[in-house]
Amino acid sequence: MHERYTITGVDTENYRAKTLYLDRPLKAEPGQFAMVWLPGVDERPFSIAADDPLALTVVAVGPFSEAIHRLVVGDALWVRGPLGQGFKLPDTSTAGRLLLAGGGYGVAPLLFLARRAIAAGYGVDVCIGAKTAVDVLLRRQFEALAVGTAVGTGVTTRVTTEDGTLGARGLVTEAVGAAVAQARPDVVYACGPVGMLEAVERQCDDLGLPHQLSWEATMRCGMGLCGACERHGGTKVGWLVCHDGPVDRG
């Protein structure tokens, strides 16, 4: 069932992305998602941006996300979740380095993952890609993570834009290549559009790097029953994004 949450804070991330902070925690793993319901409007999946308290980063891309953007502190929204399989930190005894790559609004769940990874003692290299400067998401928050981390672990943030208006000009996969060349990660984590994920997957396969990729789909039941979110194409068949994913741990 859905649970009612009250909005306690709203951060504007960029011209069309807001993070909503809610009034209590929802125990979740980074990469898991929740179905957000506005009664009488619609219900759609959003990745979980933080779990204590629950936070959701919502990009206004259509009528439903625009309706969420109109909510203010004190308003309510309904949440069903957490759902699906999230990212998993490696089962290694010694914490090494992890690479997190986000394309466009796929950056949203990675800040939560970065915080968990840093808390577990990992060094984190973040690659954020966007079309143009104003689309770059959560850069300041990632950069702020570097403050106070131990020497030798640390956090680096690389920004790429397709038009070069912020950071390096190019695609996020080029930043991934550069980051890997500088420090080979134990695992690559990525979230973003299909084309980007497929490119990261090829890159990782070529380099023999373990990877966990978070895929997007239209969700209906969110319960692994209706089949609406089945991934078509690629090597995985009969794979349900809501139930087996959204994170494919390989």
Binding site: M1, H2, R4, M35, W37, P39, G40, D42, E43, R44, A76, W78, R80, M219, R220, C221, G222, M223, G224, L225, C226, G227, A228, E230, V237, G238, L240, H243
Partner: protein
Amino acid sequence: MAPDLTCDLLGLRLRNPIVLASGVLGTSAALLMRAARAGAGAVTSKSCGPGPRAGHANPVAVDWGHGVINAIGLSNPGAEEETRMLMEARTCLAPWGVPLIASLFAGTVTEYGSVARIVASAHPDLIEVNISCPNVADEFGTPFAAEAQTAAAVTEAVKAEVGEVPISVKLAPNVPSVGRIARAVVEAGADAITAVNTMPGMVIDADAGRSVLSNRVGGISGPALKPIALRCVAEIARAVDVPVIGTGGMMSGRDAAEMLMAGATAVGVGTAVWYRGVTALGEIASELATFLSQHGYPSLASIRGLALH
């Protein structure tokens, strides 16, 4: 000696009596195969109708604590497209020896006939005639399963178009006498009966002051449905001689045993996939085997209908 789980359903040989129920994972050949690999004895596709349908707006399903309620709204690609999927599924399933049951629905008796003709061209092992979807009343009116006369009319129309393919008619639980409706569809030519569809229900979020499903009402499945389904299957088993695919709230091997004891020939499993994952299908079959051996029952036949006496 390990008990014999094999199940004869209208001459089809199922390795076990667990049938993937319609509406769950039945939207593609790959998902039907996944259910087969997970251990289902037979698999049922999601119902297809005359043309493509997007279904209802979200929310379409929630777990309300004692079961699931859904109103997906018969989303499907239409019979023509579905037939291609069914043919692919049949090819994939054949080496596994897992029969394919193709489910269909329509809005009128005549349409049932034409959809059945198209679906039969894919040569599924069995056609399941869904006359009991509770979630499209706004569009289609009272389900055909509500009255013996309309249920029989659909059965006749389908039977006339499917040639050698046997049919099972899927009945609704919310009727005063499901046995009477079972008799009517069997007299009209039904080779088997699937019972039951979900039970119409409504879940309201008091904080929101509205129904959770966008369709307002939906079908209850899962644990809450089991006693209702058992009663219906027992009544049908007393009323007719055809095999029954007993479906509704089947979460474990013990549930499956109860359904067989109510007189079912095979056991439909759907919502358990939410509670236990796709592996539930094979696990329920193994649990049933364990139950049988613990109680010294050699085969399914030794418990079938046990609770009717």
